[in-house]
Amino acid sequence: MTQHVLLYVEDEKGDVFFMRHAFQHIGASIVLQITTTGPEAIAYLSGTGTYADRMMHPLPTVLLLDINLPGCSGFDVLKWLRERPEFKSLPVIMFSSSTRPEDVQKARELGATDYREKPASGLDFSEVAEELLRKWMNEHPAASILPAPATSPSGRRAK
């Protein structure tokens, strides 16, 4: 029985904390894997170095990708990813505080599945967590039995 694995690529410790807290708060039992740089994310996905052990570092079902990262940007990771057939169908959700149309456009062009603006408050990460669960992890055939979203649907992202 496999659990959903969410790989969150984020260098901001606060955001990582809020995401972990949000999933705990809504009571979702997923595996949240974190990498803090672009190259690390690529290493995780290709299973090299410290990430060779797939038991410890299983392949994600969903990728949550920040744009502004040390090393190489989220776009570079996305580009690298989409060039590989094994990751063609991996849902990649860009997660950034940028609302620049250029960034949104670039993400779309590089093959991002969705674009989600970071909430102003860390407290509101739970909304994002709920959405991720509902949209990308519940429907998956390999999904484990997960608690249904506790709160009512918060609607599509509001711009």
């Binding site: 606060g14 502004n68 505080s97 990460f125």
Partner: protein, 604 residues
């Protein structure tokens, strides 16, 4: 005279007078001979009384007297004288002498009378002829006088005519002079006119070339056209040439005959001559100059050329040439005009060069500025993004603490609230700034926007615009406009948010939206019953970071953003206090009625 002659000589001798004279003379002579003188002497005097007939010319009287005297002498000699023997011979001879004497005298008188008569007749004839002549002479004299008179008259007329002629001649001369003057003036005018025409061509070319952007080629072609127009008829081609190595290259040309080859040997060209010598030179007939190359045009060779150097910054950069397919005498005027054209070409080339340099410089600087602006923008974005992360953390951690505050005192919870609010405000400030920068930087694509639907959507998505928080009334159906949907949403939501926000505490805001359709625009009115805006603040209403009141939450960017976005969509926004105490904003946008633009899609 004639009368007298007639009186004296012309009368016919009267018979009576003749008889009287005859009797008187015969009686007298008989008395004297027979009674007084009884001698034989004076026998010769018998003929003397006949001389009376010289006075009274009558042949009958003459010869009657002669006969009477002969008888008398006979009588005396033979009958009277006593001593005379009639038979004596001497006596007879003596008497015979007396008779001969009488006959001779009588004949002489006769002859004289006859002569006299003839003379008289002749005289009379002459007299008559004379008379006639005199009459004729008189007549002639009269005629002469008349003729003289007429002649005088004619002479007078002649004089008058001569005077008139002289006057006419004078006038003619004057007219001629005036004519010459006029001709001179006309010529001058023609020259001036031609010059003006030339100037006009020059000016037009200057204006045209001054307005030309882009390649110098167009400018040079315009100059060639000008040179061609200025050179006048008989000139088929004008060209600007330049030295490139050993070749003469045609930079630009104009004319009915285009020169065929773009490159000529430089050394044997007329351009080389003028460039070397730095002066204008013309060749009447190129056939006379075998050392110079003949420019070719399709089907024909050029026969005559005029060239002048073109200077830019006192440096000769090329030559301006005009050519003719026939031998051509180049005039001073054409020399001058070509030189003028060359000067202008030089200036224009210089200006063009400067402008190109400037444009290049401006282009480079603009590109650099753009780069800088992009960099700055990127920088500001990065900074603001990075600023949002700690804010998110502040809000998040404070929020978590507030949610699980079992170990906290009430006042600490209040502090946490302040932290959250401050962080939230700062985040709004950042997002608004970003939005404003975005509005300034990006061009908004315009399309038809259904305002009614848009505003209804805004009200639905903002709970503070719905009852019980507020009441928003739309009067009538709002007409569609030509705008950008995202931009218009921004504008209306900011205006409506303001209208609902600035109210007295505890008051339920009431907002009214209405619209006026003008010819090509729509004016929207957003009126509220809130606290209103003091007249002092009105001038700063739409300025960045200006806030009317510190009592209400805000960043001071909202209205500036509305103004900027509205202007980006070709609209206007303003404040116009209404009759109520609240505020009344208006926004004017282009009407979508009649606009052929497609509906504007959501760009995000």
């Amino acid at each position: 005279m004639i009368d007298r002659a007639k009186r004296l000589w012309g009368r016919k001798p009267s018979t009576l007078t003749s008889i009287v004279i005859l009797l008187a003379m015969t009686g007298l002579t008989s008395y004297l001979r027979l009674y007084i003188f009884h001698d034989r002497h004076l026998s010769l005097t018998y003929g003397l009384p006949l001389l009376i007939c010289l006075w009274y010319r009558d042949y009958r009287l003459l010869w009657s007297m002669a006969a009477a005297f002969i008888i008398l002498s006979f009588v005396k000699a033979f009958h009277v004288l006593p001593d005379v023997d009639p038979a004596d011979q001497w006596e007879r001879v003596q008497w015979l002498f007396q008779v001969v004497n009488i006959v001779v005298i009588g004949s002489t008188v006769h002859a004289i009378i006859r002569l006299t008569e003839a003379l008289h007749a002749r005289n009379a004839e002459l007299e008559v002829a004379n008379e006639e002549l005199r009459a004729k002479a008189e007549e002639l004299a009269q005629q002469n006088e008349e003729i003289q008179h007429q002649s005088e008259e004619i002479q007078q007329q002649g004089e008058t005519l001569r005077q008139q002629l002289e006057e006419l001649e004078l006038r003619n001369e004057e007219l001629h002079r005036q004519g010459e003057e006029l001709a001179a003036q006309s010529k001058e005018l023609q020259t001036t006119n031609a010059e003006l025409n030339d100037r006009e061509v020059m000016l037009q070319t200057l204006l045209k070339t001054a307005g030309l952007h882009g390649s110098g080629q167009l400018v040079l072609e315009e100059i060639c056209k000008m040179a061609l127009a200025l050179a006048g008829p008989g000139v088929e081609c004008a060209a600007v040439t330049e030295k490139k190595g050993n070749e003469l290259v045609i930079r630009a040309q104009a004319g009915v005959s285009s020169l065929q080859s773009d490159r000529w040997p430089y050394d044997s060209s007329l351009a080389a001559v003028v460039i070397k010598q730095g002066r204008t030179a013309g060749v009447h007939d190129l056939a006379d100059r075998p050392d110079l190359i003949v420019p070719h045009a399709p089907g024909q060779d050029m026969r005559s050329s005029l060239a002048t150097p073109i200077r830019v910054d006192d440096e000769i950069v090329g030559a301006m040439e005009v050519h003719s397919v026939r031998p051509h005498e180049w005039t001073t005027r054409q020399f001058e005009l070509l030189e003028w054209a060359a000067t202008q070409s030089g200036l224009i080339m210089q200006i063009h060069g400067l402008r190109e340099g400037l444009e290049k410089l401006v282009g480079e600087r603009t590109a650099k500025l753009h780069e800088l602006v992009d960099e700055l923008e990127h920088f500001s974005y990065s900074i603001t993004h990075d600023m949002r992360a700690p804010l998110r953390a502040m809000q998040g951690f404070a929020g978590i603490l507030m949610r699980d505050h079992s170990g906290l005192r009430e006042e600490h919870v209040q502090y946490l609230k302040h932290i959250v609010e401050s962080a939230s405000r700062m985040d709004r400030l950042i997002t608004d700034s970003l939005n404003y920068t975005k509005a300034v930087r990006t061009d908004l694509r315009l399309g038809r926007v259904d305002t009614q639907r848009l505003i209804e959507g805004i009200i639905r998505s903002y709970p503070n615009l719905q009852p019980p928080h507020a009441r928003v009334n739309i009067i009538g159906v709002l007409p569609p406009v030509l705008a950008n949907e995202a931009g218009l949403t921004q504008c209306f939501s900011n205006l409506l948010d303001n209208a609902a926000k600035f109210v007295h505490p505890g008051q339920q805001p009431s907002v009214t939206i209405s619209a006026e359709q003008h010819n090509s625009s729509v004016k929207f009115w957003i009126e509220d019953d809130g606290i209103g805006i003091s007249p002092e603040f009105e001038p700063y209403l739409f300025q960045m970071f200006r806030r009317a009141s510190r009592d209400y939450d805000g960043t001071g960017i909202g209205l500036a953003l509305v103004k900027k976005t509205c202007e980006k969509m070709g609209g206007k926004v303003g404040f116009n206090p209404g009759p109520g105490k609240g505020s009344r904003f208006w926004m004017e946008l282009q009407s979508a009625e009649g606009a052929t633009m497609p509906a504007e899609g959501n760009l995000s």
